[in-house]
């Protein structure tokens, strides 16, 4: 533990300095940008900051420089988007390619998916690319039959688990389900490594928290329903209620409550704990992962191309850019997400993707939420 605390403090000190330098660098490159037709952005423009990031070696994968230039105007519908971080990446692309403009429309992912579907029904399409932070809304739009098949060259760098079998969408960043726990109260060995055990462990009674109305949690329950069947899923939800689990409106609050000691462990996406660590010195929080079950689900943020677009080529090249070494490094170091291109490693104390043991599941199926909501309502969780 003490090793990690030092790491956190040093990281924070360093991040200030690096941030200042990066800011200055950004201004300078923006200044020189005006003379260049294509601005020369280096990997450091895409990278976040901090000691772990500094010591990272150059990411593998295909560099943007080896991809076709982006040229033209693209309507990007962005579901969610990490408070503007995703949009920042789009603006970096605009800086790199002076002939490229992206019109970004940002709203909650499900709402935007519904908007796209309603508009397509009306026959007046304006979206070229739908980039959503969850596969549920991607599946929702794909199921409506209004996406086009992504070219093979676009999806090739991404392992099969992180893209749709019918190439309707491809994942650009991953989010793992995890168990954030308070390191003052628990060690990793105190926590079960199977999700089913959490309902039976007496030591966890009154100690856990979840956010059942949060989208990521509903995807997790859907995965459990698909893997274990509805009856066992209901039993699990009831079991957790019998453990007197506390409710929160979102998983950042679950993770904060863990670090506060309000609860000792919770169910949350992995990056929230990293954000808690980044925001407070010595936050007593770490992550555990279950194995081969819904508790270890890795969900993705991904892209699909909308059928009605007249910008198919540009849209495909845009998605390829999101899968480039530079963009993947951006997701890893600035949003703490899992890169979906295996040549780019995740950040900090995270186990690499191959150490995680996610369940075998078709992520597109996670869009089938209605039965999940039904069973969650039946047991009184929703």
């Amino acid at each position: 533990m003490s090793e990690r605390r030092t790491w956190t403090r040093r990281r924070l000190l360093a991040s200030g300095a690096v941030g200042a330098t990066a800011g200055l660098g950004g201004c300078l490159s923006r200044f020189t940008n005006q003379q260049n037709e294509n601005a020369d952005l280096s990997i450091s423009d895409f990278r976040g900051s901090g000691p772990m990031v500094e010591s990272r070696s150059a990411p593998g994968g295909t560099s943007m420089d080896d991809l076709p230039d982006l040229d033209g105007t693209l309507q990007v519908y962005l579901g969610g988007g990490e408070g503007g971080l995703y949009e920042n990446l789009v603006r970096l692309l605009e800086r790199k390619y002076s002939n490229f403009t992206a019109k970004v429309r940002m709203a909650p992912s499900t709402q935007l998916a519904n908007e796209i579907i309603e508009v397509e029904k009306g026959g007046d399409s304006s979206a070229d690319v739908f980039w959503s932070i969850d596969s549920t809304s991607l599946g929702l739009v794909a199921d409506a039959g209004i996406t086009t098949e992504l070219p093979q060259r676009v999806v090739k760098p991404v392992p099969e688990g992180f893209r749709a079998g019918d190439r309707s969408w491809v994942g650009v960043a991953g989010r793992a389900r995890s168990i954030p726990y308070n390191t003052d109260e628990f060690s990793e060995s105190d926590l079960p490594n199977k999700i089913g055990q959490f309902t039976k462990n007496a030591g966890l009674k009154g100690a856990m928290g979840w956010a059942p109305t949060y989208g990521a949690f509903k995807s997790f329950v859907t995965a459990m329903r698909l893997l274990e069947g509805p009856e066992k899923t209901k039993q699990w939800l009831r079991g957790m209620q019998n453990q007197n689990i506390s409710r929160y409106p979102d998983e950042f609050q679950v993770s904060n409550a863990v670090a506060d000691g309000e609860i000792t462990a919770g169910f949350a996406n992995h990056y929230y704990a990293l954000r808690v660590i980044a925001s407070r010195e010595n936050a007593p929080i770490d992550l555990a992962f279950t194995k081969n079950d819904a508790g270890a689900l890795v969900n993705v943020s991904g892209c699909e191309i909308i059928q009605g677009t007249d910008q198919k080529e540009l849209a495909a090249d845009f998605v390829r850019h999101l899968l480039s070494a530079e963009a993947q490094e951006f997701f890893a170091t600035r949003t703490f997400a899992y890169p979906t291109v295996p040549e780019v490693p995740p950040v900090g104390p995270l186990p690499t993707v191959d150490k995680l043991q996610p369940p075998q599941i078709d992520l597109s199926k996670l869009s089938n939420l209605e039965p999940t909501l039904k069973l969650m309502r039946e047991v009184g969780v929703l």
Partner: protein, 551 residues
């Protein structure tokens, strides 16, 4: 009562000669009502796509019944709470010798400018587990404080940020209330309380009911506050079924059915309102508070602290905290968003006022069923959750492309469609304000103009309109400031790239970067506060005008 009966009769018949309202006015009011009720037609159509059995299953499943109970409890609690806070404050600031009355009038109206979701965030930040208050109390050995979450918290927060509706409408009713009636009652040996109960209360009941209606429908359609306070209600159920638009539509209809019940209840209370408003206010009657001055001042100060000091204080705390959970995010704030917010809010205020005039005039001058129907129809959109309304309009706009002079005009993602949505949502606020000032204008004045040879239209323009101007401006100000705060419909309908203060607040807060939300939230509160001052100033001129007439 004979006087008020006579007045009602006069109002009902559009003049002593038994003239019925002009056909053009009825048509105009009818088309406004039809226009704003249209999204509900879409909901009905969508709901019909569900089979009957499935619909019944959905409506009667246990969890639906639970959210129904929760919603009804919340609406009742918030409405009652708003009346308990709003009415005493109105009486104190209008009819008593409370020190600094003008100051308190402004201060206790201001909570209306704080979006209730920001209020909820502030309350969780301040009074939630590990919030500011528990951090302050921890060194004193206080281990835990009662939880702010759940029914109590949701009711408290919604009450604190919606009671000004009751305050403002009750205040308006009190200002036009003839104080000499009260004096007459007291000379007949009624005690102060008995006089209030027997004379004042029946006179201001329609005003209270009008404010209570706005509060109840707001509580019914609000999504953010109950969600933040961990209390599950209708709107949340609608949100989780969003990817099944038919189900969401069905639930919305169920919600609208409740709104209809609320509207009917309010209508019964207001039945006798014509008598209430026509009398002239006399600003001269002042009840002396005596020893009650201190508790009265404490009450005002407590409300102001909870509604203004807490949220603004928390926003300043977010602003000054620099750790990455508060700062960070990647999207810079630009003052353009403030201009965008102000611009669409101004358009919405203008459009809503224009739409409100015929509906309010007809309903204020005629007792006919049709007039009542039109007025009530204008409330339907107000009770519809913003996101449901937004999607209805997206569908409409993208399937309808009218051709004008050979050019196809798509309304999809345009400012006119966005402004239309605001009008649908907030028209009743303008109708209410305009209507009550029309009720205060003696129809005889218009008649006089008619006998002098003016046409009905020009009589309205030259006589009625100048007299109802304060109500019109107040209605516009109210629409302006609620539009500034509106989030869900704005997110669905705004043109791509068109960011407003609230859409910016949404995107940084959604990702948890609270510090980034502080500046736009403070700007929002500041700009709305200015429009609130316009609203109160109209009130003031009303008092002066009426007072002058008396003198």
């Amino acid at each position: 009562m004979a006087a008020s009966d006579r007045v009602r009769e006069t109002a009902a018949t559009f003049g002593d000669d038994g003239e019925s309202p002009p056909v053009s006015l009825v048509l105009l009011a009818g088309s406004v009502a039809a226009l704003v009720a249209f999204p509900v037609v879409w909901l009905v159509l969508r709901s019909l796509e569900i089979g009957l059995q499935q619909a019944l299953d959905l409506l009667f499943q246990p969890s639906t019944l639970e959210v129904v109970t929760n919603s009804v409890a919340l609406v009742a609690g918030v409405t009652l709470g708003s009346i308990l806070i709003g009415v005493p404050l109105a009486v104190l600031t209008v009819q008593t010798d409370l020190p600094f009355r003008r100051f308190w009038t402004v201060v206790v109206s201001l909570p209306l400018v704080v979006p209730s979701y920001i209020g909820a965030f502030a309350f969780v930040s301040a009074f939630g587990p590990h919030g500011v208050l528990s951090d302050l109390l921890a060194p004193l050995g206080v281990e835990s404080i009662p939880t702010i979450y759940g029914f109590e918290g949701a009711t408290l927060v919604l009450t604190l940020f919606t009671y000004p509706y009751v305050f403002l409408t009750t205040r308006a009713a009190l200002l036009s209330f003839d104080g000499t009636l009260m004096e007459a009652a007291r000379t007949l040996n009624h005690g102060r309380w008995a006089a209030f109960r027997k004379v004042t209360l029946p006179q201001i009941a329609p005003g209270i009911a009008a404010g209570g209606l706005l509060v109840a429908l707001y509580a019914l359609s609000d999504f953010g506050t109950p969600a933040i306070m961990h209390f599950e209600v209708f709107t949340q159920q609608i949100y989780v079924t969003m990817w099944e638009p038919n189900h969401a539509a069905l639930l919305s209809l169920q919600l609208l059915a409740f709104a209809a019940v609320v509207l009917a209840l309010e209508n019964r209370v207001s039945e006798s309102e014509e008598g209430a408003h026509v009398s002239r206010g006399s600003g001269s009657v002042r009840i002396s508070l005596g020893l009650w001055k201190v508790p009265a001042l404490l009450f005002c100060a407590l409300v102001a602290t909870l509604c203004l000091v807490v949220p603004v204080g928390i926003l300043f705390m977010w602003l000054t905290r620099s750790d990455p959970a508060y700062a960070g995010g990647g999207f810079d704030f630009s003052w353009i968003y403030g201009l965008n917010s102000g611009w669409v809010a101004l358009l919405a205020a203008l459009a809503a006022t224009l739409g409100a005039l015929p509906v309010a005039y007809l309903s204020g001058r005629s007792d006919s069923r049709l007039a009542t129907l039109f007025e009530r129809a204008s409330y339907v959109g107000y009770a519809t959750p913003g996101v449901v309304l937004g999607l209805a309009l997206v569908y409409f706009a993208s399937s309808t492309t009218p051709e004008v002079l050979g050019v196809e005009l798509s309304l999809h993602q345009t400012i006119p469609l966005l402004v239309f949505a605001y009008v649908v949502r907030f028209l009743p606020q303008a109708v209410g304000a305009v209507r009550s000032s029309i009720l205060q204008v003696d129809p005889k004045l218009t008649e006089a103009a008619r006998t002098l040879g003016e046409s009905p239209g020009s009589a309205f323009r030259r006589v009625t309109l100048p007299l109802v101007k304060p109500g019109v401006v107040a209605g516009a100000a109210l629409v302006f400031l609620t539009t500034m705060k509106e989030l869900p419909a704005t997110l669905v309908l705004r043109p791509t790239g068109f960011e407003t203060l609230v859409t910016y607040i949404w995107r940084v807060q959604d990702a948890g970067y609270y510090g980034q939300a502080a500046v736009p939230a403070l700007a929002l509160v500041g700009v709305s506060a200015l429009s609130m001052l316009v609203l109160l100033k109209q009130d003031g001129s009303l008092v002066r005008r009426e007072g002058g007439k008396d003198a």
